[in-house]
Amino acid sequence: MEYTLFILLLPLTSFILLGLFGIKLSHKISGLIGTGSLLIMAQLSYVAAFSYFTTQRIDAVFQTVIPINVLWLKMGTNLHIDMGILLDPISVMMLVVISTVSLMVHIYSLGYMKGEKGFQRYYAFLSLFTFSMMGLVLSTNIFQMYIFWELVGVSSYLLIGFYYTKPSAVAAAKKAFIVTRFADMFFLIGILVLSYFTQTFDFGTLTSGDSSIFQQAISAQFLGTSALVWAMALIFIGGTGKSAMFPLHIWLPDAMEGPTPVSALIHAATMVVAGVYLVARLFPVYVLFTPEVLQGVAYVGAFTSMFAALIAMVQTDIKRVLAFSTISQIGFMMVALGVSKLEGHHGLGYMASMFHLYTHAMFKALLFLGAGSVIHAVHSNEMENMGGLRKHMPVTHLTFLIACLAIAGIPPFSGFFSKDEILSATYHFSTGMGIWMTVVAALTAFYMFRLYFSIFWGKEKQHAHTPHESPKSMTFPLVFLAIPTILGGLIPFGQFVTANRAPYAIHMNWMVAGVSVVVAVVAIFIASRLYQYPNKRTATVPTALRGFHKAASHRFYMDEVYLFITKKILFNGVSRVFAWFDRHVVDGFINGIASVTDWFSVRIRGFQSGEIQWYAWVFLFGTLLITALILFV
């Protein structure tokens, strides 16, 4: 399957072409280059996925295929970074997800970014992102993954800061990069620790389940915990940065400063699930050797999903609602991984997590693109400027509704199936966790329908010109993505992607499914009572919830905490002190030497006056003194 190399080369070529010559090309040509290369890449991905899932199964177990692997950089006797392509169920699934969403975003952007200054640059960055993301999921070793992990971060930085003359976009881009970089630092340290003890970066060796390679890492202790636990925990922290888990989630809402299609691609469907993918990739290590870290993954995911869902309930910027919703949904995926085991039905969580990753990518991309369509029409991100848009934008309205039903977990839409399996897995883990996640699911249904009703129902607002449906290039992706959103749940996912790679039949847990549907419907009903038609109740919500409402609107003051740490402590406390110390103490010492030398030279300068009488006197007294010394001592 060597042709998969072109999945990487096509977007890279497109990036280089547009990056170097984009400025000389017309918008049309550059859009064509970007979208065209993506179209071919997507076809290749589909072909690869089809042929992988149909042919690479031996004794009902999917095999890992490595069509290409070349040495990139040698580091010592055993360690070396390779560049290669690894195909296994999850990477192939990601190929389909990334290329589908990326292609839709490329097409959508033809309309959305039309006439925008820097159109070529935009497509160049999109290509760079697609290349990096593909490289990330196809990595054969953890260091290659880290390399593309960083590149993904850079493309995200470039795209968030696309409107670089806007200070808020510049600040958001910077924040996103630095926060994720901070997490990446832990990731890197984790890799260092892991590779030192195992002497390999290779995923194949690491995830083989063979305990002998971890022997040293398990026996080496640091602060009462084994080095392997440290390494895996540090690597997970790297994952929480990209996947915006609490408390490193703060960059994601700000990242909404980027163009909306970018938010759909990077900050909803693909890049932000990189952390989930990372845990899934190293799942055998987590589950077999460091189950305590895996539990941590579950708790971090559970807390984050609740935390973000609470904030999403009160946000007024539609993109921020979606951003917090994304954080919350990634929390679901993390929880599912965290509660999973390896074999058979105990591996349900793993399968559910990947399933949800897939369905979420489709419906969340659809939601974002729909939101972009709305923003395109009313030129605002704020809910208060919207309302009653269903009449003006029928396609956007219908597809948005489908996606909302999917995320709320209403059958038969895709989200219902994946979420239901996650809930089953959490109930299996513990009832408390199950109830907790069911509450989050209810909140999800509520805030999504609050969003939906506020945009498309409610009171119609006055606009400068009447909102109208977006062009075909924008509505086509909406319709296209609606298809997997409606039908995606019917895919027998357990046949393809499982923790131990052997197929397994999914059984509906009717009890869990029933409860989750009922709570979702109740939540939607409440949302409709509050927001569907203009009424007095809407205004009473903030006052009824008072303290909570205020705290949630301020995102529980996490940004303030960060500002305090970075501005007050690091910038003014550390950096300023260092700079002062350098100028006044270190350099002062050097200047001090110079001053002392200077001072002495002024004092002793008089000795060489050039006056012969003075020299004669000194000579005479000197002779007398020496004579005296010789005589009397």
Binding site: I23, L71, W72, L73, K74, M75, G76, L79, I81, F143, I147, F148, E150, L151, V154, Y157, G161, Y164, T165, K166, P167, V170, A171, A173, K174, F177, I178, R181, F182, D184, M185, L188, I189, L192, V193, S195, Y196, F571, V574, S575, R576, F578, A579, D582, V586, D587, F589, I590, A594
Partner: protein, 492 residues
């Protein structure tokens, strides 16, 4: 005649030619021809070196030759190269070449500027090809002295102060270095100062401790060893662009190069024993330099402190004493040389247009000068270790190599050094966000032009080097790493 001597002869010939020519055009003609020939020569050397190595030659030094020029002390003009010298020579040629184009409009006293510039180059090239301790020291001094005039005459700001400070601090350290070198020679009881001979005459441990400290310190100051780095920010800020490039790009690497070639290779026992002290200093330097850079508002100071951080990382990696970390150190010298030269070149070009280097007085320049802006972003990305650019390869090799040491002390220091990748991101993105992005701050900047052809040539050359090392590091890393294999073996 050994073709390595051409590296010294060519700059000397350029000096002679500069004496003869008159017009500005001719001066530039001499410089462009000479520096292009140097680039070709380095390329030939690299090609030839790889060919000889591939044919199975495993001598530690290739293309050796020697000639005694001071019998009483048996001082020789001895040359020879290994992989490390080859890459450093290539780096020097690229920087000398690009520095020429960056100084295209230098005035007044154009001829004199290039005269000193070539002399500086002579010293640098001589240093990298020489294997005799005394001759090496001679070239070292040859490279230092022109700095004083280049900064003092063509510099800006408090140039007299900066030039004096830089020269005195470096002279002071080289005095200590000289004591160290003479100590090695007399202490070892060898019959010549040839490094290959000295390696086989190791000194007693107590003597090693003493002279290692002197030698490492002597070279270390030039490599911005914390806390003796303060000449660097002032010196760089005042120096004219090409001199900053050459100084930060190549001259500071003389320090790192000398540290392993002499201090560590000749006194391995002391290196083993004393490295913790110096590791602590350099480790502090890495983090400290990065934090100090955050507070700066002058672009040159930002880059100078960033250089302090990165150059300390070079020394840090050398002291980790593993083959991988030392390979990383040389990669970092190479990478930092290119990056910092690119930075200084760009800062010089931007300053030449806006007449300010304060990021608080600029804003939104990306729109006005997209070429320079994009290049600055690339330099910045490389500086903070974005994959595909050279900084990443170097830093990662260093981190992995340093982690090969099993003891907790070195582990903790390595992890401390890793934090610099985050702090680095802060100061780079802060300055990019401040002066390139955002709305146009100064109306007067709206009409400024983008880079000229000669500036573009310099910038593109440097970026090509950064991209090459960052994307295809296999070959370069291998050349360097092989040399260390034999070096560490000899030391043991």
């Amino acid at each position: 005649m050994n073709f390595l001597s051409l590296f010294v002869l060519l700059p000397l010939l350029m000096i002679l030619a500069l004496f003869v020519v008159r017009s500005r055009k001719q001066i530039l003609g001499v410089m462009v021809t000479g520096s292009s020939l140097l680039v070709l020569l380095s390329a030939y050397l690299a090609y030839h070196y790889i060919a000889v190595r591939n044919s199975g030659n495993t001598d530690s030094m290739l293309f050796t030759a020697s000639l005694s020029w001071f019998k009483p002390l048996n001082i020789q003009y001895a040359v020879g190269v290994d992989g490390v010298s080859v890459v450093m020579l290539c780096l020097s040629s690229v920087i000398v070449f690009t520095g020429t184009f960056v100084s295209w409009k230098i005035a007044p006293l154009t001829k004199e500027f290039f005269l000193w510039y070539c002399l500086l180059a002579t010293g640098v090239y001589g240093f990298f090809i020489t294997l005799d301790l005394f001759t090496l020291f001679l070239f070292y001094e040859t490279a230092l002295i022109p700095m004083y005039l280049l900064i003092g005459v063509w510099g800006s700001g408090p140039k007299a102060y900066s030039a004096m400070k830089l020269t005195l601090m470096l002279m002071g350290s080289s005095m200590i270095l000289l004591v160290g070198i003479l100590g090695i020679y007399f202490g070892s009881g060898a019959t010549s100062m040839h490094i290959s001979e000295l390696v086989h005459h190791p000194m007693a441990a107590e003597q090693q401790y003493f002279f290692f400290t002197l030698t490492f310190f002597g070279f270390g100051v030039l490599g911005a060893l914390f806390p003796f780095h303060t000449w660097s920010p002032d010196g760089h800020a005042s120096a004219p662009t090409a001199v900053s490039m050459l100084h930060a790009g190549v001259l500071m690497k003389l320090g790192g190069y000398g540290c392993f070639r002499i201090a560590i290779q000749l006194m391995p026992m002391a290196a083993e024993r004393l490295s913790p002290i110096f590791l602590l200093l350099t480790g502090i330097g890495v983090v400290y330099g990065a934090f100090a850079a955050i507070r700066q508002t002058d672009l040159k100071y930002i880059n100078a402190y960033s250089s302090v951080s990165h150059c300390n990382l070079v020394l840090f990696a050398i002291l980790m004493l593993t083959q991988t970390s030392m390979t990383g150190a040389v990669l970092q010298m190479l990478s930092h040389g290119l990056i910092t030269a690119l930075f200084f070149a760009l800062i010089g070009m931007i300053y030449g247009r806006t007449h300010t280097r304060l990021i608080t007085e600029m804003g939104g320049l990306m729109k006005i000068m997209p070429f320079l802006g994009v290049s600055f972003v690339i330099a910045g990305f490389s500086n903070i270790g974005v994959p595909g650019l050279s900084g990443f390869v170097a830093e990662m090799t260093i981190f992995v190599g340093s982690f090969e040491n099993g003891d907790l002390f070195r582990r903790v220091l390595t992890i401390a050094a890793v934090t610099s990748i985050v702090v680095g991101a802060v100061y780079i993105l802060r300055s990019i966000g401040r002066f390139l992005q955002g709305p146009l701050q100064n109306e007067g900047h709206g009409k400024l032009d983008d880079a000229h052809w000669y500036e573009r040539l310099a910038v593109v050359t440097l970026i090509a080097g950064i991209l090459y090392i960052g994307s295809f590091p296999t070959g370069v890393a291998e050349i360097i790493s092989d040399s260390f294999g034999s070096l560490l073996q000899v030391a043991k």
